[in-house]
């Protein structure tokens, strides 16, 4: 994909609430990793299969499969979304190590930190 100017949210973020778009802008303009984490958590909630019932609120400890109802394809969709929006690559090995929302958040932060370091 052609890199987007920092002021334009990527099309994949269309339909997300303004605060998520605003967090994404903070990440893009100020390299704010905390803001990137907000986007990741919003995506983890958004891609959750609708048929799964939530017994508790989403937290760092929420397990994608057991607590949030994700199946393997929905995990792949969530990862693709994150890769697309943050222009990064998450390997199968990385994905296999992710069990919870907190694991995912930490994984993305590691990728983005490495990317920022490389740049």
């Amino acid at each position: 994909m052609t890199p987007l100017p920092d002021s334009v949210p990527p099309p994949a973020l269309g339909g997300f609430p303004p605060e998520v778009l605003e967090a994404y802008q903070r990440y893009r303009t100020k390299a704010d990793l905390g803001a990137a984490e907000e986007v990741v958590i919003a995506a983890a909630i958004d891609y959750r299969p609708a048929s799964a019932s939530l017994t508790r609120g989403v937290s760092e400890e929420s397990r994608l499969l057991e607590d949030l109802g994700y199946d393997s394809v929905a995990v792949a969709e969530l990862i693709f979304f994150i890769e697309d929006v943050f222009e990064t690559t998450i390997s199968n090995e990385d994905i296999l190590a992710v069990r919870t929302v907190g694991d995912l958040r930490a994984c993305v932060v590691r990728k983005l930190s490495a990317k920022a370091g490389a740049a």
């Binding site: 269309g14 609708a50 690559t89």
Partner: protein, 424 residues
Amino acid sequence: MNPVVTGAGFVTPIGNDRASVERSLREGLHGIERVEFLGNPDLPVKVAGTVKGFQVESPRWRDWSWPAGYEIPKDVVRGLAPHGVYAVCAIEQALSHAGLRPSDLAGDPHTGLYCASAGSAMLMHYNLAQMRAVRGVRGNPLGVVSSISGTLNFNLAALYKITGTVCGFVSACASSSHALGYAVDDLRLGRLNRAIIVGAEEANADSLLPFAHMRALSIQADPRMASRPFDVGRDGFVGAGGAVALVIETPSAAARRGATPLAEVAGWGQAADGHRVAASHPEGAGLRLAMERALADAKVGPSDIDYISAHATSTPVGDSAEALAIAQVFAARGLRPPIGATKGLTGHTLSLSGVMQAAFCVLSFSGRFMPGNPHLGVAAPECEGLELPRGTVGGAPGRILSNSSGFGGSNVCHVFVAPDRIAD
């Protein structure tokens, strides 16, 4: 025992519910609009049979919306193509019409799903372009199931938890007629007691413009002139989209739950042209045989048919072949049942065409009318001996023959019987 139709649902260029579709058919109101594909005003194709009330032009599902009253969960929408959204809405209508709830289908091993669509060329293009832009590193995980030609069966089987037969048909513009025919056979053979048949297509540049490059689309800019089946001046078809769903059941299954039969599917037949990849046999040889086989399967003769729902798409070659085939089966015996080509109003909905005509036949029975050919000016010479009424014909048909033909010379015909004439 032959299956009966117990429900029908519509998302079509001429209406998105039974009442509006019936009104359009009865009053000859077309659903063809001016369009500008790919932002290019210089393209020769100026019109299409558009679907109204849905915003699904974007390749991104987050941009889509559809009419109020249909709840489609987000995780379901993500796997759908635009025409899959149409299909869900048509099925919801058909189930409601049949007095069924989605929970009646879920996990029932005696309910089957028979689908027809060409897939979503738009989504396939978008997804593959996205993949190629990153040199294959990543792509939409749902790119395959949302775009290839089985997209309807994959998604709808999962949504409705279908555990009987689930299958899809790819015989181009005869696809949904095949879907209905094979569903009928499975019910007759006792394999199932209920089937959902759905066809759906998108009316966008990626689905339709390739037909312009075959020189198959009309280049008339006037929506009333572009789709003129059987007219001497016809110059191609008008591409169209939408979705139609039918519920068919064995008579005993329908009776057990007190469902009202809307029509009987009394028989069907198919035969191929053995001729060209994309042009009909010049005398409609395959279509003639398909009509004869459908009549034989229904145990009726040509004189028992009160109305013919023609496939006629407004192409010079296809309409001529159909006219000659009908003439051989009917006019040659001195029979002149009225013929209606509803694509004059809808445009040609491709793989959806056959089941859409089937559902229109159901409306003809319940509304006691037979659609005419309102855009027909001067009938082509090969239509000599055929009854082609311009306006709607009043009165209830007892039996209707419905035709369809697709690329490769596939021809599929069905015979439908009005509910008050079943087992006559």
